[in-house]
Subunit: 200 residues, 2 copies
DNA sequence: CGAAAATGTTACTGGTCGGTAACAGCGCTG
DNA sequence: CAGCGCTGTTACCGACCAGTAACATTTTCG
């Protein structure tokens, strides 16, 4: 029984550090965030940070892992909300992304990191890669369950539209092309699901 | 003392600095590139750099402007190759982007900069914004000339796909969703141009 | 030519960064 | 209680970074 009242409503320093790091990375970029600032924002200190993570790079990797796990949770919620309904899950997924495009906390940590981790050998890049591959498998399966003939094509179409919406949000703002993302993505889904053919 | 082996016609130090900066920004990121490295790569020195640009931020802005001017030139080439042919220009534009997706020198400086310039007030952001707005106007006009009914919708669809392809290239590599960008974008163009309707 | 303008060289500043050492306190559990 | 592991504090290191000063050199052009 770990009722754990020792520090009410306060998570472990490690969790707070990861949380603070993700927040600061989102707001100021990875390279623009110093470890001192992270430790400070986590209401902790640099030594504790370095006891849990051997380097800033290791912390970055852990942040990416956490972001991936958060997405895993969301996929599970989606399956619970629309059990076995591929089409419903797809549309709900798109809608949710559209709704969160404007958030300061939009789920673009992976994309941002991919751009900022310029070193091709950075360990974070393989985490991103694995996450993206898993995501693609999942979406393809949903498309298949939705009765789409060319499931891979709809999947890639949606993934491009999503990444594009996030990127466009960054460079063109909320009134740019990303404003019509939901409309476009939903039309693509319905088009594929209706005829099973691409864009026709 | 040093015998002057310089090539007779050499671009000005200013141009070399901008060129070197753009190259290094692409390869190592904006924050990951120091002014010393830029001056060195330009075969110049830091003092000359700072005589032409009052700050690194000013140099960044100039790099973005150059990138924008390069695109302007490309649009002009496109108009020359397909005079008055909106559809031809659109398809050629998409094909060219697809062909250059894998390039180390792919035209994603704007997107990268938008992600890396985390400060909302950075002067570079307005350059990016103006460039994106102009690009959107241009593409909408091409769609209109191609006989597309909802020109804005096709334009935004293509812009999302393009940004998405570039982002996906970064995070998922060449075998990810970006591999089918050309196919998807071309299908979208033909679909809109054929029926004038969205995805149907 | 000769002078002005542009460019190059060296050395420096003050600040930030990632990372570490030494030490002190806290909170468990035996 | 004692002991131990986790956490916090301070100070420090070497490297790097943006930006500047003073001076030497080359290029341009009237």
């Amino acid at each position: 029984m770990t009722t754990d009242f020792r520090k009410p409503s306060r998570r472990s320093p490690r969790d707070r550090i990861v949380e603070a790091a993700r927040d600061l990375f989102r707001r100021h970029g990875i390279r623009g965030t110093g470890v001192d600032a992270i430790a400070d924002a986590a209401d902790s200190n640099k030594m504790t940070l370095y006891r849990h993570f051997n380097s800033k790079d290791e912390l970055i990797v852990e942040c990416l892992r956490h972001a991936g796990m958060e997405m895993d949770g969301f996929w599970r919620e989606l399956e619970d909300a629309y059990p076995g309904d591929g089409l419903g899950q797809l549309r709900s997924w798109v809608r949710r992304i559209a709704d969160h495009l404007g958030d300061d906390k939009c789920q673009c940590e992976m994309m941002s990191a991919a751009v900022q981790l310029t070193d091709e050998d950075h360990p974070g890049r393989s985490v991103i890669r694995m996450f993206k591959d898993a995501q693609r498998d999942r979406v393809v399966e949903l498309c298949r369950r939705a009765g789409v003939a060319d499931a891979e094509l709809l999947c890639d179409t949606l993934l491009l539209l999503i990444e594009g919406a996030r990127a466009a949000q960054q460079s063109s703002g909320a009134e740019g092309p990303s404003a019509r993302f939901a409309e476009i993505a939903d039309a693509a889904i319905l088009s594929f699901a209706g005829s099973g053919a691409a864009f026709k």
